[in-house]
């Protein structure tokens, strides 16, 4: 006997994510889910953004399979940090964030940056309760990444291209990259930055401040 089900497999996660979002909005916290491949510069971008957002109180959730290296680095800036070790899971899910929020002083922060596990596949499918999804791509990864990870590139609101200081040394066709991204994700806003030289960081931070004020 066949039973019709027609149920979204991500339904349970989406429900918890909706609860997180409600709690975060109620606490007036603007939440950013930062996704990227390992080594694209997630932590560097988080650090640069904290600095550029001076005057705005930031909290950070660090997601890693193991270790507290990133959390320790971020904690040195004085902002509250919660580390999630997924113990093998390749992505953060809404449940992990719900638990982490219990340890985050939400009444003391305006912005929460969630650094997801380095991975361009799985995190795209798991909503966390965020206001903004940001993907950090980097020049050495190559301009063909939108074609290889369309799930991720279409899921995000912002694409930050990091390490643009390496453009003279790496084969990277900016026009091809932008065309691919804009073609499948017309709403995505693209920022080109270098965490090493600081180029482009202020433009990203200025835009981000506008989004935070708008909520």
């Amino acid at each position: 006997m066949e039973i019709k089900v027609l149920k979204n497999i991500m339904g349970v996660n989406d429900q918890v994510a909706a609860k997180n979002r409600e709690m975060l909005l109620w606490s007036k916290v603007f939440t950013i889910n930062i996704m990227a491949s390992p080594g694209a510069g997630k932590t560097s971008t988080v650090l640069k953004t904290i600095k550029a957002l001076k005057g705005i109180k930031v909290g950070v959730i660090e997601g890693d399979i193991s270790s507290t290296i990133d959390a320790e680095t971020v904690a040195k800036t004085g902002v509250p940090v919660v580390q999630i070790n997924t113990g093998g899971e390749c992505h953060l899910d809404a449940n992990m964030i719900q638990n982490a929020l219990n340890n985050m002083p939400l009444d003391e922060i305006n912005v929460l940056m969630i650094e997801n596990v380095g991975n361009l596949v799985c995190p795209a499918d798991f909503k966390l309760g965020e206001s903004l999804k940001v993907l950090i791509a980097s020049v050495p990864e190559g301009d063909d990444k939108p074609y290889k990870y369309p799930g991720m590139f279409t899921a995000v609101d912002v694409i930050i291209l990091n390490k643009i200081d390496l453009l003279p040394y790496v084969k990277f066709n900016m026009a091809a990259f932008t065309r691919a991204v804009k073609g499948i994700n017309g709403k995505a806003v693209i920022f080109c930055i270098s965490c090493t030289t600081g180029e482009g960081v202020n433009a990203w931070a200025r835009w981000l401040k506008k989004q935070i004020k708008g909520t």
């Binding site: 006997m1 066949e2 039973i3 019709k4 089900v5 027609l6 149920k7 979204n8 497999i9 991500m10 339904g11 349970v12 996660n13 899971e89 390749c90 992505h91 899910d93 991975n119 596949v121 799985c122 795209a124 499918d125 798991f126 063909d144 074609y147 369309p150 799930g151 279409t154 065309r179 691919a180 804009k182 073609g183 499948i184 017309g186």
Partner: protein, 113 residues
């Protein structure tokens, strides 16, 4: 790697509906999986075998219907299945597309006794 989490979620849905229908045994589940989700069919089957052990769904099979990445041209409205490294409208060559398929991830039905 996210197949375990996804298989756990879908297995919960399967059991819930099987129990509701007072089924004695679950034979299979029909899934629709979008190509863009990156979910690997073999891994889902593998985890399903682990999770279903010693339950009424023991030995159940996953029938997975893969849904390709599909788009609609914003310029001329043509719908098409995208080709690798080639996101262009086959009718007018337009590059601004709306993604219309390939992100599905749902349980369509289950087969029970």
């Amino acid at each position: 790697m996210h197949e375990l989490a996804i298989t756990q979620s879908l297995f919960d849905i399967v059991l819930q509906h099987a129990v509701q229908a007072k089924a004695k045994k679950v034979k299979s589940v029909n899934l629709v999986v979008g190509e863009m989700t990156g979910v690997v069919a073999d891994s889902v089957q593998f985890y399903l075998e682990l999770l279903s052990k010693d339950t009424i769904a023991s030995g159940m099979k996953a029938n997975i219907k893969m849904s390709p990445m599909q788009a609609k041209c914003k310029a001329c409205g043509q719908g098409f299945i995208t080709k690798e490294m080639q996101w262009e409208c086959p009718a007018c060559g337009g590059v601004n597309l709306e993604i219309t398929g390939g992100k599905e991830l749902f349980v369509e039905s289950i087969e029970v006794e």
